[in-house]
């Protein structure tokens, strides 16, 4: 075996090897390729196809990733014990597990979306930048929900409960949250809500992803209050920068919490 030099990379390599041979992984890859291919054939003009892809992505990537990450940790539990009984630091094992899962899942999104769109020539000129943004946000959401999935699994001993919590997190961030925001907006229609709205957008990684992409599509005002507020306040580059920084925080914070719980956990 000629893996990376650090224990974390060696563990990540082994996990990747295991993950990419799994049925669910292959099913996810197939789904993303078929979806992208279908939308670029029948989804109208390239911009519309990518918008549809964004809508599906904002639901599917968080769901698949958080469920996959949670179940993956539970299934790897005894193997993790074996790794932890070796002269390896716990943080190295944790990093190896996270990387070993994230690289394949982020790879599915990057290749599954990128290759069909490039083959169809859907993404030419300025649309390449949009495609890049679509892939980048998909990868970022994968990293966020992978970290959240590990956090849930490390902190919840019971598998079923862990899966329930993971689904709850997805439901809240990807489905319910927007409804609550809309409710708030319509209830408090007479108040200036711009600043609180910005806070609400930063507080949910899925909405953050949506805002970042809508800024690229340049039709944010038509597609909901969220994008409009962001565009109004920050315009292009600055909004994207702040959004990206917030997204980065959404990756790091759960990951640090999960790593801390992992190093303190009794196995």
């Amino acid at each position: 075996m000629s893996g990376g030099r650090s224990p974390a990379l060696r563990i990540a390599r082994a996990q990747m090897r295991d993950v990419i041979r799994g049925r669910w992984f292959l099913a996810y890859l197939g789904f993303v390729i078929l979806l992208t291919d279908g939308l670029s054939r029948f989804g109208g003009d390239p911009s519309r196809a990518m918008l549809s892809l964004m809508d599906v992505m904002l639901l599917v990537v968080p769901l698949v990733t958080i469920v996959f990450a949670t179940m993956y940790f539970y299934q790897a539990r005894e193997f993790v014990e074996l790794l932890l009984s070796q002269p390896v630091r716990r943080r190295a094992v944790f990093s190896g597990l996270y990387l070993g899962l994230m690289v394949p899942l982020a790879g599915v999104w990057t290749l599954g979306v990128g290759i069909p769109l490039l083959i169809h020539g859907t993404a030419g000129g300025s649309e390449r930048v949009t495609l890049g943004a679509l892939i980048l946000v998909g990868v970022a959401l994968t990293l966020v929900f992978g970290a959240l999935g590990l956090l849930v699994a490390v902190r919840t001993e019971d598998r079923l409960r862990g899966l329930g919590v993971a689904l709850g997190v997805w439901l809240l961030t990807a489905v319910v949250y927007d409804g609550l925001v809309l409710l708030l907006v319509s209830t408090l229609a007479n108040y200036p809500l711009e600043r609180p709205m910005l806070g609400l957008m930063l507080a949910n990684p899925v909405d953050l992803g949506r805002v970042l992409l809508l800024l690229r599509f340049d039709i944010s005002a038509l597609l909901g209050y969220t994008g409009a507020v962001f565009q109004q306040f920050f315009g292009g580059v600055r909004g994207a920068g702040i959004g990206a920084a917030a997204l980065l925080l959404w990756i790091c914070l759960p990951l640090m919490l999960a790593a801390r719980s992992f190093t303190r956990k009794d196995f």
Binding site: M1, R10, D18, R21, Q75, F79, Q86, D266, F267
Partner: protein, 237 residues
């Protein structure tokens, strides 16, 4: 080899070990016995660092059990249950462990031949039976010729021949001066392979010493009877 002082561990409200003091001598086979759920596995996991103590101190070969894990280079551990990544082969997992320890050449793979595992190691681990996985587990515990070998119910799930092979291996390693700690419910087996016994009862160590001594002290003919005797006295007390 192992020095434990004031070791305490609770899971929520359940206190499993309470102020345990214990020394385990080097170069001997020591059995850990006691009623179900008394904390035998917990004790072994505390030694490996899989579980963190609430209080107390553990020294393994003079090194404290600590977060950086360097002391684990001296330990081989065979857990009671083992699941490996389903789609990897046993050989790949062995190579991964060698890679992690930075040791490839001087490993001990004699159990692979004795268990007849060569062909099995090339197959994905999910296709192997529970007993075969347990053998892979045993191979891993002895792989790096560790000074301290911790075995948790090592023969459960093994057929009589494999169980004999493993017990012979334990005896040979003892001859080589290694320290071996076996948690087991199989008293007859411990009588066969162990020199000393640690009896865990009511969150603490009730007896530690040679097997003959516990039998004499309780006026019993077998280890099983002797431990049962201590358990009954524990209940009466």
């Amino acid at each position: 080899m192992i020095e434990v002082t004031g070791l305490t561990k609770a899971f929520g409200r359940l206190r499993v070990l309470d102020g345990v003091d214990l020394r385990i001598a080097p170069g001997r086979v020591t059995g850990i016995v006691g009623p179900n759920a008394v904390g035998k596995t917990t004790f072994l996991k505390l030694l490996v660092g899989l579980i963190h103590a609430d209080a107390g101190r553990i020294l393994v070969g003079g090194l404290p059990v600590s977060a950086d894990g360097a002391y684990r280079d001296r330990i081989g551990y065979m857990p009671q249950i083992s699941t490996f990544p389903e789609r990897l082969s046993g050989r790949y997992c062995l190579e991964l462990l060698k890679d992690l320890r930075g040791r490839g050449a001087e490993t001990d793979e004699e159990l692979i031949g004795q268990f007849g595992l060569e062909d099995q190691l090339t197959k994905p681990l999910r296709t192997l039976s529970g007993g075969t996985r347990q053998k892979v587990n045993a191979v891993m515990a002895f792989l790096f010729r560790p000074e301290l070998i911790l075995l948790d119910e090592p023969t459960s799930g093994l057929d009589p021949l494999s169980s004999s092979i493993l017990k012979d291996k334990i005896a040979r390693e003892r001859e080589r001066g290694r320290t071996i700690v076996v948690a087991s419910h199989q008293m007859a087996e411990l009588e066969e392979i162990a020199d000393d016994v640690v009896v865990l009862l009511d969150r603490t160590v009730r007896f530690v010493g040679p097997i003959e001594q516990v039998k004499r002290g309780t006026h019993q003919v077998s280890l099983e009877r002797a431990v049962a005797h201590l358990m009954i006295r524990g209940v009466a007390a």
